[in-house]
Symmetry: C2
DNA sequence: GGTGTCAATTGATCCCTGTCAACCGACGAA
DNA sequence: TTCGTCGGTTGACAGGGATCAATTGACACC
């Protein structure tokens, strides 16, 4: 179920789910709905900041990016969601924009149905509130990463978080796929695309990772990366 | 309960309530408890990250600072709480440390009593979950501030948030008190104390603010400050 | 094939902010 | 009083990342 465990500092958990969480099965069970799968192309907007929430979605494939824009156009990525994540829970109005970064399949659950399930099933309500707490925890972790860590540490924490996620989902923790573009990673880590790119190069040259494509990272020395991500010394 | 080891922290305010929210009256009403006021000196620790939550507190006077530490000692301030804020709601385990930045009076409500009230009174449960959502929103706003804004913009947004809070509480929006020290502001904004200090000087020289003491800010051109805070250019 | 577009990488340079340090004013103790 | 401490301010300097710019590679389309 979704316990909000206390975290250790910097590693992991960062990435995810401001707005999303993993627990798709249980949520789908508790929310009766027409099992409608929506297919959405890449770079489509699911919703915008301030809009009223109409649906809860379960990500079945693809990836979602949550962001906000400043008046002058600067963009901040608040997080990503991946297959298995439930997105859109929280307050009645969306905190941020949501866009696909890939072709994505979503299972849509009407917000009304979701709300009803919360009221009627206390245990489900607990799960939902635990999910929000989890998102809060992730947001705080995000603050930690971008407020004090160096570019190397930020990227390391991002990669380690994805590795940990793979591990949790039964995939290999030693290689990850980056569905999003560099600009999304940069805006998520509070860096520029150039710095992100250079940092990847530094990691490659240092033998920490290998990359045959820009979207696939193979870990060569995950211990060192993890130490970097934790914001410890080393 | 309030163990006293340690750091100095101290401060207060920003807008936000990572962990806190304003709705003290209603919360106190719904949670039956022995009306016990606790007086806590400055720089005392209320709780530490990872500890199980034992009480919900309503801040009656003083100020609280929420922070986390990295393994190497770097410190991140996640937010502040002021009189009228309810602190400690959220998951069963604390996300971060909480310390007083001033002598503070707190009203303590046992977590058990709080939980019972949530179960027994649906409307109260809604308020509690709205509070968590509010904290989540504040955390995202914090991410925005520290990931993309310049030092000037960060400090401006901090000051404007305090001004807005004053306004909301019926106090003058044109002057604010900073109960926390520079190091707390710095750790909250992802800057150093030197940069914070220099930025205050820049604002003073530019005629945006006036300060007779280091802890009192009088706004001279709040429009410009607000424009800066919004990240809009100017 | 050639061309256009978009994403990623790399290079050169700049500047904002961190770092290290000195200094100042307030306050408390001896 | 003098001394010591603490918090804040200011200065000098340097480094990390941003900025501006060019290059490369992948891919779609004609």
């Amino acid at each position: 179920m979704f316990d909000t465990h206390s975290h250790q500092i910097a590693h992991q958990n960062v990435i995810q789910l401001p707005y999303g969480m993993s627990a798709a099965h249980s949520f789908a069970q508790h929310c009766p709905h027409q099992p409608g799968i929506r297919k959405v192309a890449a770079n489509e907007t699911l919703w915008c900041e301030g809009e009223e929430r109409s649906h809860i979605f379960i990500v079945r494939s693809g990836a979602i990016c949550f962001s906000r824009m400043l008046p002058d156009g600067r963009r901040i990525v608040l997080g990503f969601a991946y297959p298995g994540d439930v997105i859109g829970i929280g307050s009645d109005f969306h905190y941020c924009d949501a866009q696909t970064v890939q072709a994505t399949r979503l299972e849509a659950i009407p917000a009304s149905s979701f709300k009803r399930a919360i009221v009627e099933d206390p245990s489900f309500g607990k799960q939902a509130s635990a999910a929000v707490n989890q998102a809060l925890d992730a947001a705080y972790q995000h603050v930690v990463v971008i407020s004090k860590l160096s570019a190397n540490e930020r990227l390391a924490s991002f990669l380690i978080a994805l590795s940990d996620r793979n591990d949790k989902h039964g995939l290999s923790p030693l290689s990850i796929v980056l569905p999003m573009r560099r600009v999304d990673i940069a805006d998520y880590l509070g860096l520029t695309i150039e710095t992100v790119s250079r940092t990847f190069t530094i990691f490659r040259n240092a033998g920490l990772i290998a990359m045959d494509q820009a979207s696939i990272v193979i870990f060569k020395d995950i211990r060192k990366l993890r130490a970097l991500a934790a914001g410890g010394g080393e």
